[in-house]
């Protein structure tokens, strides 16, 4: 009798869990598992969306890695962005976070002003920077020329387009600033006092007290920064489209990566192959490369995070 009620109790509890989890279980199957398997399937098929898909073996893979002219430039750009943009964002975010914790007058106002650019919608923010940095009449170059500094071509110069994107990314530092601010305020004050008694300089206090305490957050910022860079899409796309100036309306016909492939990123290749060239098979190959890279870094995040994600457990 009691065994029976225990069994029915268990069954009811399982049903309850199933009921509460059901939206996500369906979502997981239909919008994650199925399309992921399907992406692997299409990566081995020739498919243009009109004629039925036919088996093509490793042809799409060979095409993407050996002949597709945009793949390696996009990967090189991603590497550049990881090395330069992610590093500068972490350093700048930490600097702004430090500054805001030290400032004692008007802290609230400073914090709001520093945070606001992060909220600017990516398309609008990129349009704003395309205007600010435009070589013809942009305010930045007007000021630089008045000051006698040679004005770069920014989004119109292959050598300067990624630095211009970096500037845009540094403008929207609000997310990292908040994370670092919270981490810096969590450093125990006694440790600073002890260091001060030992006669440690400001740099030594930062190096031997602050840094070790916030190291996990710095690591978190680096890894999430890398993952975000893998997904970097809207800003480089809009910057290239606006700077090229040839677009009429928001059609599908535009040269990706303007100027000279310098703003190409991997997600743009999925769009280029799938929705501009109708080569769905090769688009799926790039999608899988993107998947492998972001999964690798996500795994790193879950392993390294330790205390961060299981917080409250």
């Amino acid at each position: 009798m009691s065994a029976l009620t225990l069994a029915s109790k268990r069954r009811r509890s399982a049903l309850r869990t199933l009921a509460f989890m059901s939206p996500w279980l369906i979502g997981f199957a239909v919008f994650f598992a199925y399309p992921l398997i399907s992406t692997v399937y299409f990566s081995f098929m020739h498919y243009d969306g009109f004629r039925p898909p036919t088996w093509s073996g490793g042809k799409n893979w060979a095409y993407v890695f050996e002949h597709y002219p945009l793949f390696w430039p996009a990967l090189r750009n991603t590497l550049w962005l990881v090395l330069v943009m992610v590093t500068l964002r972490v350093v700048f975010g930490l600097g702004v976070g430090l500054l805001i914790t030290k400032i004692k007058t008007g802290t609230g106002l400073f914090r709001t002003l520093f945070y606001l650019p992060y909220l600017a919608p990516p398309v609008a923010a990129t349009m704003a920077f395309a205007f600010l940095l435009n070589p013809g009449t942009g305010p930045v170059n007007s000021i630089l020329e008045k000051a006698g500094v040679p004005a770069p071509g920014w989004f119109n110069d292959p050598a300067w387009s990624k630095p211009a994107l970096t500037l845009l990314a540094l403008w929207g530092i609000g997310d990292l600033m908040v994370i670092f601010m919270a981490a810096l305020l969590d450093v125990p004050a006694e440790q600073y006092e002890a260091a001060q008694l030992d006669g440690a300089s400001a740099w030594q206090r930062f190096r031997y007290v602050t840094l070790p305490n916030i190291a996990p957050i710095v690591m978190f910022a680096v890894v999430t920064g890398v993952i975000q860079t893998m997904q970097y899409y809207t800003q480089p796309l809009i910057a290239g489209k606006v700077a090229s100036g040839v677009i009429q309306g928001a059609g599908t016909q535009f040269e990706p990566g303007y100027p000279d492939k310098s703003t190409l990123t991997l997600p743009q290749l999925v769009y280029n192959l799938g929705f501009q060239r109708f080569d769905y098979g090769s688009a799926c190959v790039v999608a899988l490369v993107l998947f492998a890279l972001s999964t690798a870094f996500t795994a790193l995040l879950m392993r390294r995070r330790g205390g961060l994600i299981q917080a409250g457990d």
């Binding site: 399982a14 309850r16 199925y34 500054l99 400032i103 909220l119 609008a124 009449t137 489209k241």
Partner: protein, 298 residues
């Protein structure tokens, strides 16, 4: 410290007084240095907004010059943007996408987050890991099969439905954030509700939801911003039909159509930025209030 220095009757030994003065001077210099840095940073963060706003008020001819400040303040530029064919439709579409999408996300994500936070079942840790993996997945990874599914099988391209329907099935980021928030609700509240005869659904609706209001507000805020900012989604599913465009997507075509009219393009840019910033200012207050009122945090 100041008291010691101000006392005229008992003059401090010159050495100490000198050290004190140096310390005070250094503190003052530090204050000045810090606040100069702060002002410099504030200029870096605000000047782009200022230049964009000033340009949005220039006349057509002046917008082509290198002037920084408008000679005449052309507020009519904003009226012109609203008169652009489609602009109001994009505005409405964005509100539907952001509003309905946010509502669907919250309704579908809360029960999942609750189960992940408070139920014990086999596969819970695995589910949480998969939620995090979905959260980190770039949308481009699965876009080809998803596009074929929505466009070829369900014939829904040219609408925003392919972006909103999935939100009825839980959003990974929202589930994760809510789960983190619900973990902070003590189990005693749930046990008390059960003793009072509340079922699982009753406990969720009557006890958990009111306590989780700040978490839900945060999730709703993030999801609203996500939909408002989304460019890739509308580009894939709505590009063929301008009647389904959102502001973020339409803004870029605005530049295409107005080529050199930076003033009108910047006015449109301001109109896309402003609502997000306004929502933030209002919601920030509600958010902070919510956290203090419910006393969940602490």
């Amino acid at each position: 410290m100041t008291q010691v220095l101000d006392q005229p009757v008992k003059p401090a030994p010159p050495l100490v007084s000198g050290a004190e003065r140096t310390a005070r001077r250094r503190a003052l210099l530090e204050w000045i240095a810090l606040h100069s840095l702060g002002v410099a940073a504030a200029l870096f963060f605000t000047l782009p907004f200022v230049f964009v706003f000033l340009t949005s008020l220039m006349s057509d001819t002046q917008a082509l010059s290198r002037d920084l400040v408008p000679h005449t303040w052309e507020w009519g530029n904003y009226a012109k943007v609203f008169d652009t064919p489609g602009f109001l439709t994009w505005w409405r579409n964005t509100l539907v996408y952001a509003g309905l999408g946010t509502a669907l996300t919250v309704v579908s994500s809360v029960p999942v987050a609750y189960a992940l936070a408070k139920f014990r079942f086999r596969g819970r840790d695995l589910s949480l890991m998969l939620v995090i993996s979905m959260m980190m997945l770039p949308p481009q990874v699965v876009v080809i099969p998803m596009y074929l599914f929505w466009a070829k099988q369900l014939d829904l391209s040219g609408t925003l439905w392919p972006l909103m329907i999935p939100m009825a099935f839980g959003d990974a980021f929202s589930i994760f954030l809510l789960r983190q928030f619900l973990m902070t609700i003590p189990n005693e509240y749930l046990d008390a509700a059960r003793v009072d005869g509340c079922g699982d659904l009753g406990t969720l609706l009557k006890v958990v939801l009111p306590m989780a209001r700040p978490g839900i507000a945060a999730v709703a805020l993030f999801q609203f911003f996500y939909a408002w900012n989304d460019y890739f989604g509308p580009q894939i599913y709505a590009s063929e039909n301008p009647g389904a465009w959102t502001l973020s997507y339409g803004l870029e075509s605005f530049k295409g159509a107005h080529h050199t009219d930076w003033n009108l393009t910047m006015a449109a840019t301001v109109l896309v930025m402003a609502p997000v910033i306004l929502v933030f200012f209002f919601a920030q207050k509600a958010f902070v209030e919510g956290v203090t009122l419910t006393g969940v945090k602490g």
